[in-house]
């Protein structure tokens, strides 16, 4: 197959186009599917990831918030003692919280979980490792696409 065949390019674009079908257009469509690496969060390190993602709902001080429903506080949170629990939440989501597993590498998940577990009046000193994240990932899982 010729690499630069224009139709080859078209096909590749189609593949990318639908994997990242995106804003507005497909609010209605199926929200699961392969997520291209370009759509992942670029931030590295626990703090940068917390500030780019988690604090949207759990707030900059990790105190959560309350309206008609609530976002739980992560401060002094005993549920974080066992690292596997927050790892599972970040990767697969829970109830209305979307899964972030498709948008984060194993290392990013471990970093952000460890950051939360050692900040905001949490002091759990057995860090989660990227391999722990890898271990809970189901192969070929269809992560929700966030749009």
């Amino acid at each position: 197959m010729i690499r630069n065949n224009p139709f080859h390019v078209i096909l590749r674009m189609v593949a990318i186009g639908f994997a990242a079908s995106g804003p507005g257009s497909m609010a209605a469509a199926d929200s699961a599917g392969p997520i291209p690496p370009s759509a992942r969060f670029p931030q590295q390190g626990g703090q940068a990831l917390y500030e780019a993602i988690c604090q949207g709902c759990h707030m900059p001080d990790a105190e959560g918030a309350k309206g008609a429903g609530a976002y739980p506080a992560l401060t002094a949170n005993k549920k974080l003692e066992e690292g596997g629990y927050p790892v599972h939440l970040v990767v697969y989501g829970q109830k209305a919280m979307p899964a972030f597993g498709g948008f984060l590498s194993d290392e990013q998940v471990a970093d952000v979980v460890n950051y939360i577990r050692t900040h905001f009046s949490n002091n759990y000193d057995t860090p989660v490792k990227p391999d722990d994240v890898k271990a809970i990932r189901q192969p070929d899982y269809n992560y929700v696409k966030l749009d």
Binding site: V9, G22, P23, A29, A32, P34, F41, G69, P98, N142
Partner: protein
């Protein structure tokens, strides 16, 4: 998304596949398949005003939520003879059908407060903002409730398609991308046809028709070439020097974008947006703001709504439903209300946190739907430079920058003075990142990104307001995200009446995020509920 289309390119390509590939490149067949697999390409299930016949003899229904789903139910059930009450968390009706104007203040979760500084008459719709012609139920309610509509411009051939990594980051006019994409693809296909490479696929007679069609559709010259010239300019992409009058009136054609640059830019992907069934013209918007719809409903059934109530428990028995709520206007004191039936339109992001004695199927469904991030940012500028400088009247510019979409107002054309445009309408990871910012930083970032497309931003920007839906206190998210798998497992469980409780809202529809979905789910739920009441 359908795996078949996301799995990448085919290992080998037969000539016979060429035509279908072209179709796929334009998006139609892939999109259609994807939609079919989800039950989309179907017509709206609306066949005129609902008829709830039979006498419910003073049966009472408690409706939770005064968004469109709740208010449609209140209107129709009262008309059918029910005793209706509505509890609403906010101090206003309409839910996500909402408009922000100058002077409005908005406090999001976390306590971040914004005051909208738009001039009089200027607004943004942070939630729904457009109504397709085939959303028959919503349009019918607009008609019945005298909500004035005007056209919403979705496609603008003079707006921009922009990628940071294509054409040195220079935005391209929609009409250039469109004409050149059609032209180059048609030329290639004509070449293959003329070389006999499609002889297996088309008859000799059809070959002539195909060539004629390609020439016409692609604006090709007599030699089936797509190139700089009057044909390409007149038939689509426009001129370098417009045709004029008098001595010096002769037009100068414009030069097409190079084929490979265009293909690799990916900009053609956005050509399809306005052609998708859900965005096809004619689209409408209510005159003066989307909340005209909520206001119209409120005029009809506003007296039935108790505002400032936060539901904490929904408990049913064999004979009734009792809802406990905090009365926020009374410092949060707990009150209860009991009715024969309950129609709950509370978003699942909130409902999944409310204690409720329903069966496992409904509870599992309530807990199975994650909510989408989405952010809109409205920007006020000193003048309507997009019209004055760029000849863009309404429509949408698409970009791969985090703001994703810029939309120009569909009203007040040529009005002198200030204007408000939608500076960002973003989903996905970009929306997550915007949500995590302070509101003023979202506005600042939006201005910074937009200036890469419209340099006038720097001079003309005045103020802005940013709504991140995960921070909206009454929904904690924009809309319910379903997948093929979750629909299969949970959709029925969500929609089936559980004892004396029925659910409705966009989350209980195949039209997520659309007002039409909320209305159709509500009409369906009250029809089934009514059948139980009058049918015994």
């Amino acid at each position: 998304m359908n795996d078949e289309f996301a799995s990448g390119y085919a290992p080998a390509m037969s000539r016979r596949d060429l035509l279908s590939l072209i179709g796929a490149a334009a998006g139609s067949s892939a999109m259609y398949q994807a939609m079919i697999s989800l039950g989309y390409a179907a017509e709206s299930h609306y066949s005129g005003a609902i008829k709830l016949e039979g006498n419910p003899t003073a049966t009472s229904v408690l409706i939770l939520g005064a968004g469109l789903a709740g208010m449609v139910a209140a209107l129709e059930l009262r008309k059918a003879g029910y005793k209706v009450q509505v509890l609403e968390y906010q101090d206003r009706a309409g839910g996500r059908s909402w408009t922000l104007r100058g002077g409005d203040s908005y406090i999001e979760l976390g306590g971040f407060k914004q005051i909208c500084e738009f001039d009089k008459g200027l607004y943004i719709n942070p939630g729904p903002w457009r109504i397709p012609y085939h959303h028959r139920a919503l349009l019918d309610y607009c008609k019945r409730l005298n909500v004035a509509l005007e056209p919403f411009i979705q496609i603008n051939f003079n707006s921009y398609l922009h990628s940071n990594s294509a054409f040195d980051g220079k935005p391209q006019r929609y009409r250039h991308v469109m004409s050149d994409f059609y032209g180059h693809i048609s030329e290639l296909l004509a070449k293959a046809t003329n070389q006999g490479k499609l002889d297996d696929a088309v008859t000799k007679e059809d070959k002539e028709i195909l060539l004629e069609a390609l020439k016409f559709w692609g604006s090709l010259d007599k030699d089936y070439a797509y190139k700089e010239g009057l044909i390409a300019s007149y038939f689509g992409r426009g001129f370098d020097k417009e045709p004029g009058g008098g001595l010096d009136g002769a037009p100068v054609p414009s030069k097409p974008l190079a084929r490979d640059d265009l293909l690799r830019s990916g900009l053609w992907r956005r050509l399809k947006n306005g052609l998708l069934y859900e965005f096809q013209h004619t689209m409408f918007q209510p005159v003066g703001g989307m909340d005209s719809i909520a206001n119209a409903f409120q005029r009809e059934i506003g007296s039935l709504i108790r505002f400032n109530t936060r539901v904490t428990e929904i408990k049913q028995s064999e004979k009734s439903v009792t809802v406990t709520y905090e009365d926020l206007s009374q410092g949060g004191t707990l009150s209860q209300v009991t009715a024969d039936w309950c129609l709950c339109t509370i978003p699942l992001s909130v409902l999944s946190q409310i204690k409720m004695n329903v069966g496992s199927a409904m509870q599992a469904a309530i807990d199975a739907v994650p909510y989408a991030p989405a952010v809109k940012v409205g920007l006020q500028f000193k003048r309507r430079f997009w019209e004055e400088d760029d000849a863009i009247y309404g429509g949408v510019t698409y970009t791969d920058l985090p703001v994703r979409q810029i939309s120009y107002p569909s009203t007040d054309f040529h009005k002198s003075g200030k204007g408000v445009m939608l500076g960002a309408y973003t989903f996905g990871t970009a929306a997550v990142e915007f949500t995590a910012m302070r509101p003023e930083d979202r506005v600042k970032a939006t201005v910074g990104y937009g200036a890469q497309i419209h340099p006038q931003y720097k001079e003309e920007f005045e103020n802005g307001i940013a709504v991140a839906w995960h921070r909206v206190p009454w929904t904690l998210g924009c809309y319910g995200m379903w997948t093929v798998d979750t629909r299969k497992q949970h959709y029925k469980g969500l929609c089936e009446i559980d004892g004396r409780i029925a659910l409705a809202g966009e989350h209980a529809s195949y039209l997520p995020a659309w007002q039409e979905g909320a209305i159709l789910s509500s009409l369906d739920a009250i029809s089934r509920l009514h059948k139980r009441v009058v049918g015994g």
